[in-house]
């Protein structure tokens, strides 16, 4: 009976924390199977999954609440992550495609729209949402614990070593698995002569009035630079943005970390020659020099009223390191040291009142010591730690990097550095942990092969994970003959390790991988010919569209490494692109479904068409084995009968044979008659007597 069963379950759940070889009960507060470092979006997301599987975990947070980064950033308080509340759809999975702030949970009401309905919400909404999330799900978080040192520790956890964390009070936490969700918060700086004269994004005043009439040079051309520029656009006199590379527009690159249109008003004022501008140049090679008041007085002695005129005008000059006297940089200013002296139309020859650094943030590497040290990734100027395709630190087994800091895997290509991307990678890492440490294989859905087409279409039309994490997470279909197993959102770059990581095998029937991808040939984003519509041209699709890869065996590490340039996966045995769709609704019978079915038929080497019961009747009697649709449906007494109108259509199309002597009596009877006259004739509609 249920009443006696429930407490037992709870008890088991309690025991679940104690893993083999662990000392349970004693000192459990400082000893955990899983330590999550940081209670930001990533930390809470991981905490949720750990609590779902009832693991022994703790989230450690140095601040007094979750998501403290967002108490300060973005400085101008407008989130640029889309919070589209009104999608016109009620499919919760689909809606996550347009909800970039919510975390994943089984609570349909625990979505970001509860705290804000604005498309670009205020930043304060995020910590508020995170508190709600942590509270309602009862996540175990310890606030006020500032971990300063992380070492490798001896006690074994499933064969590997653990990690020892020391907080500001010298208290130690021993963890089997360390999940680093600390984000990026150390401002990225560049050293050049005069860099101390530069203000940082983290500390600039946000009141536009402070910039009234000022000329401002901003170092950087990312979203924080443009956000800053946009906020002072109406007050500052002149805003120049300076960094090595040209602006990359998110709507051109499909990368949400590039400049978003929501912040790009300055592009307008620049292109309409309204005083602002963008300039490219190296950051290490410049210098900022102050034209200090003493010198200014000296030089302006000749024009007496000049000092009055120049009051409040620029004092900081951008120059080139090479132009300065290397021996004695303290005697910085002289007209000779300015590029304008040498080149009278040098773009940045006018002085600035302020120089602001908006160069983004870097990962805090400093707390990882000894064998726990994290390597720098080659991506993003070394600002991020290097991680494997399953987000484990390279060289630090049992230490995983999640959230924004894990972005080196898909930097400048996908969404892994953002909430709407990493919420899915975290789920993937959690399944990998479950398999590796608890022997629970990645969950799969086992279905009949006749359902493969509609199941793929279902995912293609609603799944948010592969849609957000395009090119990075993909669904895997393990083909098994008359059935298949469907596994969602596996990290594609780890495909060579699929069996180890997921706990599933690939049989000789092979596997399919469903990936969402943007096109590779960059055409003019808004120009003509930017989209394809003919399904036979699907491989040239430019917008996000589903791509299926068929492999007969799991690709090897070597094959992964040598995959075609720009491809997420190696050359498969067969590939199918589903034509991009303006509405992202891939359900057209002609353009989407039939080509997909034919591709699946090729991979499975079987006819996947659907047949009415009548056709199955014919095939069942005349073939040793009828098509799979009949075998798995009709022969199991679940055939699709259809009706006269439908048969007529199929006959007119030449797909069902025409009966010369038609007019079966049962069809002539309406079903009202059928019911009412049932009494009169036992079998007016059934065929049990002549």
């Amino acid at each position: 009976m249920p009443p006696s069963f429930l407490p037992l379950l709870t008890l088991l759940a309690g025991l679940g924390h104690c893993l083999p070889g662990k000392d349970c009960g004693t000192n459990s507060t400082h000893r955990h199977d899983y330590c999550v470092l940081g209670a930001g979006p990533a930390g809470l997301q991981m905490g949720y999954f750990l609590s779902q599987t009832q693991r022994d975990y703790i989230i450690l947070e140095r601040n007094s609440g979750p998501g403290s980064f967002f108490n300060v950033y973005p400085r101008h308080r407008k989130l640029i992550s889309i919070n589209k509340v009104y999608t016109g759809r009620r499919n919760p999975e689909f809606n996550l495609r347009h909800d970039w702030n919510s975390l994943l949970s089984d609570r349909p009401d625990l979505l970001f729209k509860r705290v804000s309905t604005q498309l670009y919400p205020r930043a304060d909404a995020l910590p508020r949402y995170l508190s709600l999330f942590a509270e309602e799900l009862g996540l175990r978080i310890k606030y006020g614990v500032d971990i300063g040192k992380i070492h490798v520790s001896e006690p074994a956890f499933h064969g590997g070593h653990g990690y020892r964390l020391t907080d500001q009070n010298g208290l130690e936490y021993t963890c089997g698995i360390l999940l680093v969700c600390t984000g990026l918060w150390v401002p990225q700086e560049v050293n050049f002569f005069g860099s101390e004269l530069v203000e940082g994004y983290e500390s600039i005043p946000v009141d536009p009035e402070e910039y009234r009439g000022q000329a401002v040079l901003i170092l950087g051309k990312g979203n924080s630079a443009f956000e800053t520029a946009q906020s002072i656009l109406g007050r500052a006199s002149r805003i120049h943005l300076y960094s090595p590379s040209p602006v990359r527009l998110a709507w051109q690159t499909h990368y949400v970390g590039d400049l978003r249109a929501v912040n790009n008003e300055l592009l307008d004022t620049y292109q309409l020659k309204s005083l602002d501008g963008l300039v490219e140049g190296g950051l290490e090679e410049i210098a900022i020099v102050r034209y200090d008041s003493e010198e200014r007085n000296k030089s302006s002695r000749r024009k007496k009223h000049g000092s009055v005129e120049m009051k409040g005008r620029g004092q900081l000059y951008l120059t080139l390191d090479e132009l300065l006297d290397n021996q004695n940089k303290t005697l910085a200013f002289s007209p000779m040291t300015l590029p304008g002296y040498h080149n009278d139309n040098f773009s940045l020859r006018q002085p600035y009142d302020r120089v602001i650094r908006c160069l983004g943030f870097r990962f805090n590497f400093s707390i990882f010591e000894g064998a726990a040290s994290l390597l720098h990734s080659g991506m993003a100027r070394g600002r991020l730690p290097a991680v494997t395709a399953w987000y484990e630190g390279k060289g630090t087994p049992g230490l995983f990097v999640l959230g924004t800091a894990s972005h080196s895997r898909d930097y400048r290509s996908s969404a892994g550095g953002f909430i709407h991307g990493f919420r899915y990678t975290i789920r993937a890492v959690h399944w990998i942990l479950e398999q590796r440490y608890h022997n629970r294989a990645w969950p799969t859905t086992k279905l009949q092969t006749t359902q493969l087409l509609s199941w793929l279409l279902r995912r293609v039309n609603e799944a948010s994970g592969p849609y957000q994490m395009f090119g990075v997470l993909g669904d895997i279909v393990l083909l098994r003959g008359s059935h298949f197993e469907y596994l969602e959102e596996f990290p594609l770059q780890a495909l060579a390790q699929f069996s180890t990581l997921s706990g599933h095998r690939v049989t000789k029937s092979g596997m399919l991988v469903l990936v969402m991808q943007y096109g590779l040939n960059r055409t003019d984003t808004l120009g003509s010919g930017r989209a394809e519509s003919e399904w036979t041209w699907a491989w040239r699709s430019n917008f996000l569209h589903p791509v299926l890869y068929y492999y007969s065996t799991i690709p090897t590490e070597q094959e992964m490494k040598h995959r075609p340039a720009g491809w997420p996966l190696p050359r498969p045995k067969a590939i199918h692109h589903m034509i991009e769709d303006f509405l992202t609704e891939w359900d057209g019978p002609m353009s989407h479904i039939q080509p997909l079915r034919r591709f699946l038929e090729h991979c499975l080497q079987t006819d996947l068409r659907a047949f009415y019961a009548e056709s199955c009747f014919r095939f069942s009697l005349t073939y040793r084995e009828p098509p799979i649709f009949c075998r798995l449906g009709y022969l199991k007494k679940q055939g699709v009968i259809g009706n006269r109108k439908l048969w007529q259509h199929a006959r007119e199309a030449g797909l069902m044979p025409t009966h010369h002597d038609s007019g079966t009596p049962k069809e002539d009877m309406s079903f009202q008659n059928y019911i009412t006259k049932a009494a009169a004739s036992v079998a007016s509609g059934m065929n049990f007597h002549l």
């Binding site: 036979t536 006819d607 068409r609």
Partner: protein, 713 residues
Amino acid sequence: MKSGSDLLKTFGTDTVFDVNAIVAHVLFTVLFDEVKSVETQEELRNIERAVKGRADIVLAQLPMLGLPEHRAVMEAAFVYGAKHQFVLTKGGSLERLGIEDPDSPGSHLWFLHCREVLRQSDPCQHTTLKKPLTTLNVYTFLQLMETPLVTEASVDPSDVKTVGSHLHAPLLFLFSQRETLALDRVTAETLGWRLRGEVAVVLIHRDSADVRTPVEYNAAYRLPAEGSVIKYFNLKSIEEVVNLFREDTVQEEEEDIDEDWAVLDVLDDEVVESVYRDRDVELDVGLVTELTSDTFSKAVQESNTAVVLFFVRWDAASLAVMQSFKEVADALEDIADVQLACVDCGEWTDVCSSQLIAAFPTVRMYWSGGLPHTYTGMLGTESLLKYIMLSLAAAPVLLSSSQEVQSFLQGDLFHTQATLSPTRVVGLLSSSQDSGWPMFEGAAQALRGETLLGLFADQQAEQWAKDHNVKLPAILVFRAPDSTIKAHSLQLSSTEQLVSDIQKLLLDTFPELTVENLPLYLELRKPLLLLFLGPEGDEEQGQGLDRRDAREELHRLADTSLLDTYVPCWVHLGRTPAGRAVLESYLGSIPQLPALVLSQLASGGEVFHFPSESPLNSDTVLQWLHRVERKEEQPAGLVLDEKWGPSVPFYDFLSIMDQEVPGYAAQKTPKMTKNMVGEKGSDEEPGHSNRTPSTKKHMPQQEVPTSHQHSEF
């Protein structure tokens, strides 16, 4: 026209308007038996099926008879009629071939390579005659069809004598040496297929001393024109060569390719197509209630019986079933107890996930106070209706008196349901304390919607058992068609066993096979002894009498145990017209009806036809079956042993990528990977390399970092 004294055929003078027409029509008449004409794809397919592995087909589309094209084809048929199967069509309905615009009115001729086809499931490859239909062109074309794909020779091209050289066809020479022979053969064959009917391909063994071709060339060709010289060249790609011969028809070719794939834009799935044809009608669910996440729980909890169809809009089978479901809703409109509803799983994915829907469509019945029951029967109006109506009866129906048992069996109790169910089952137990009770209860639940199950647990049950010569526990099975009641003793071991026992007892000993019940009988995996009966009212030659006799004869036989190793059954071709196609497939044509056929579906796949001239009675049938068993009978046909492979060739994006953007889909070589890593490392500053020095004026050369331009964009 006369042959001897027999009038063969007459034709009106309006059809013989000139010499072409006369020749054509005369030949047509002479060759009447050899040249077939078809109107539908199905007919063509039948011919294909018949000749596969034996002969090739020459298919000519002639929109009008009597034209020179007609004559050319008929003349070719006169010469080649014995060798190839000639088929004429007026065109229009032969979409299968697909290469020609079905609306294109012209005359066309194709060669269908059926002779080399080994398996029935493989299609016949075809080659199109690309030249006008003249006698010479048809003749040359057919000659070329007969030549091997590739001829091999060890002499110099100028000495080669093949069929091509007198056929006015261009010759393509490919040079091969011993080391690459195997590969070269493949290339030559590929080219052979591509150029079949247009160019003769000759593979020259260069190792022979007779070959004087300079080694720097690997191919050569000679055009058919008189005195044309051999031109040598280097073969780089197959396309190049194909283009060489088709340069003047490049435009035409491109259209051909487009049309080829345009064929793929025709829906080839009968369910999809039939649903698609109604696409102008917005999906209307009629009286079926559409449920949402907000309304689902309430709806299934509050209604007595809710039958819910879970579907997705992109699944044609779902939409087809929706049609039936709507009809059920119409029929049940006045029955207040039952609510028909549907859930669109494309939108309400959360409802479907929580209900663990793993297949589309799924029909599930929700009862107040009971566990939901997933319908596993035929997805058609009648079956669904029957299921729902039968489900409304209690399961089991508790019977309290002998009168009730009687009226239940006779269908007076639960009248509406009884008219729908051909069978009724009554479980007989001595008392409600009997250990069989819960098993019967379970079985009744499991069989809910399938049949009506009554339960009579009373001392009087003993009397019922005695009357039917069985021991308790027992069941009585009532069968509607002949109103018989049969009793069976039971060994009660488990509910599952009881369910399967009852299901077996519900099977008819001599059923009429229908589309809906065939699976029940195929499950027995025994050879089918099928009696095909003609449609009712088709009383020619007193067949009506024959039929009834034959059926009754077999019925009698079926009731004995003599046919236990078979499933004796009958098919009424009027009610089950699909049976006609079955019979045709078995025997190649429709024999005289009634026809008795033994189909060894599960074993051997042979089909035997009871000689239609013999009288059909118990003895003759049994003797015939014995002869079959002793392998003394020749099979009249075969059950097709073919795999259901992909229905059409696959549109291979990889090869298209390889063609259009070579290297795009190619795996990188290790060296390239290294470069790629380098690129990734420097992806920080892609603009860097783009900057070019341009403003050096006024700046001392040595002080200006050239890589440091402040270029505006």
